[in-house]
Symmetry: D3
Subunit: 187 residues, 6 copies
């Protein structure tokens, strides 16, 4: 099994029971332990903080569908050209949408992806935050409200977009390597 | 008390006991409840995920001193021109360093700040991650190792830099407003 | 059959015999008539000029293998985020290399793609030409020669990289749409 | 006679009869063999593919006047700071327009050049394609249609702009050197 | 007394009487001789040309208040990340406005600073000139006129913004060092 | 006589005697009153401050030749795409060098201009200051010293480069229009 990053930071061994159980559940549900989890597993406090935030954001309660959150993940990761996140979340978009070409389009250029105008506004905001966050103004939030997004929805869009701006940089900084299984999923 | 952001998302009321206790401890230690916490308090699960990751990163165990972590916070926030984070973490650098002009220099242009060559390498890596993460390569990690940083230290630098790339964008996206008290601190 | 671009420029009808024969050969060999050919078919002189240059560059005599030429095509198209070219030439890289993840890596971030140092130098030159051609200097050509590329090879690298800087812009300007068949090829 | 580029790729010698005739016609009409032709003449198939496309685009049938096509050539080449193309096509604009300062203005900053609003829209589209092709959208094509450009005209604008994005990069990559005669022409 | 720049260019010694008198007046009024003056004092003709232009612009007759001119100075210097000018003119904004947080906001991100819409338009023009002067067009001047600025006011805005684009670069090029006294002023 | 800028700011009338004498000398020496002087002549204090600094910098004592100062003027103005300054100082380079193609090359892309390595280092520093002044470091000054430039020379390079970063922006902000006579000079 290759190292999940370019850093020499092996997982604690043995893993605490709760962590092992979580990893086992990943294998059961996804067929793999995502390498991002193996990467963080050298320090269980860090792993727990990461999964705590990730699961709240991507799987928790929100008016944004899981697919929409994954769409934001991919559009942001494409701006940052993050190989790990594009691979893993591109697969998620293909799977959740049942439309492989949607995942590809978001990886390549979200502006030509076949999404609704409301989703396009959501992605435009996420990409603006990614590339020029200091210029975000009330008019940009109003553009989201005009598409029916509530203030809570705006928070959620911003939180997902913000999170992947962290994860993309973390992944690139340590050369995080995606599990080989993602490439063929849901094609 | 002005709203902590431009979104209409009031805190849960009353706050859960544990949250209230945490806020009380902030007032006791810092004299204020940082507005970032008031901003997240509309949803306690989100607040807890945020403080969990923040406290682990900025206050937890690391070979990077707390001041060094704050220096990364400011250098990254300056690239992203995040008013909230520059105000709050600029104050932290002034306080922890006892050198007000160091805080100012990091806000204005980290390249002229009076830091050690080792710290400069650390900040260069953090800023590279911020501006061009897709170009980070083994040579950049080697440059850190040449200054005596271990792989664990590299992880910590990357994690702090990554975190503020999230927080900066979150703060700008919702127009987070720093507590007025920061401006005069440790001048 | 959907229009190959956002412009209302139907193909000449009927196609001249030689063009029809060429399209038939495409179907026989590739299973499709690539939409780029259908797009140009509103004017046979333009179609012939395009295919003349394309075939000479991508299929003609060169020390660069066909796979290497396709690798340049994808790396350049990724910089320009051209959906059409990334889809079509990403498929070509997957097919010619027999390595689907190589195609994906070049689409996402060529810097982490598993290529030889010689190929990396070739792609670095192609991407430099794409992003900052006015800065290309003798030192950049020398870097290629140091990897064993001849002056003729440098010409060929430049010609392929130049060509896709044209095609990417043409495709984006008219919203050229890739054939649906590419997405699933060679996964 | 100095080499037409920084590469050591001498022309085939003797030139094929048809090529020699074409070069002779250039001397007769322009007083020179443009160095771009001498550069390609190391391989007659490449030369023919290049001149085939060039002549079709710049001299073939189009609703864009030859001057307008040269204006696009210069505006695009200015964005890419291509010495060869600015020199050769700047001279062409001066000659075709009879207005030397128009050629200069397009070389320096097309935004202040004295052109019609319709031509300005054409140049804005060409420059947008040059600098940010992935963002071109239907609204940009509509802006051209609002100035009376047909879909065929849009194709032609895009094709000329695309072509010079190729030629600029090719010229810079091999350090193509303009014939000295251009500088004084039509001043 | 540390050198005012990284260059070894000591002031003429003794200073001419008029220069000495000017420096004495600075000490009397500001408590310091600003290091920019000490930097230029190696050549009195250069010093006089600099102070001549500076005093005319920043202290001379204008419909822009002195505070507004200092606001432009800081907003422009922030774009250029000039440590010297941000330190000196940030202090001036704090002093003239009596609002320390206004100075900080302009240093960090002028877009969130609490200024009037008219002042915001003025700063937008100054920042546009700083970052993309070649794109300034009549519409940008009209936007100022719509806020009641006269053509003379537009000249003054442009002149101050232009001046700091010079001074910022001069200061960074020679590593000009701000007097330590500025940091604590008017906090 | 057309207005020298897009602003409605006519010269004081009549001009003060000294100003009129200066303008008369311009006509005698250059054949024209440069429009930049006519533009500033609405306010004689501003005109005098400008000419005071300009003449000191461009005509005063320096180890940089007048041609070298004009070369910096053009290289900087090309980065900022300033039509006025490129026209006026491009003519000056042609005149002082006796080499029209040198003026053209500096306007188009200074990197391919036939200058000495020492002059190239000078222009590289001027262009670095123009595009990324906040990154200038001691190593950049050392690179100039390695070519034999003294600290005084570095000051002069910086001062000329800084000045044109001001003038370029001023000229673009008010749409300053070059005298028609420049275009044909010294071709």
């Amino acid at each position: 099994m290759t190292a999940p990053t370019a850093l020499n930071l092996p997982p604690v061994d043995p893993l605490p029971e709760a962590t092992q159980a979580y990893f086992d559940k990943c294998v059961e549900k996804l067929g793999i332990v995502p390498n991002v989890l193996r990467a963080y597993a050298f320090d269980i406090a860090k792993l727990d903080a990461f999964t705590g935030m990730y699961n709240e954001l991507m799987l928790g309660d929100s008016n944004l569908s899981k697919l929409e959150r994954e769409m934001i993940a991919v559009a942001v990761s494409a701006e940052n050209r993050c190989f790990y996140c594009l691979t893993a979340h591109g697969a998620a978009v293909r799977q959740l949408s049942g439309d492989p070409s949607l995942g590809e389009a978001l990886v390549m250029n979200y502006r030509i992806a076949p999404v609704t105008p409301r989703q396009r506004a959501m992605l435009d905001f996420a990409v603006l935050m990614t590339n020029a966050s200091a210029t975000v103004a009330e008019a940009d939030r109003e553009a989201l409200r005009a598409h029916g997004f509530s203030d809570r929805d705006i928070w959620d869009i911003a939180a997902v977009a913000g999170f992947f701006n962290m994860s993309n940089r973390m992944a690139s900084a340590v050369e995080m390597r995606p599990n080989a299984e993602y490439h063929a999923q849901a094609r």
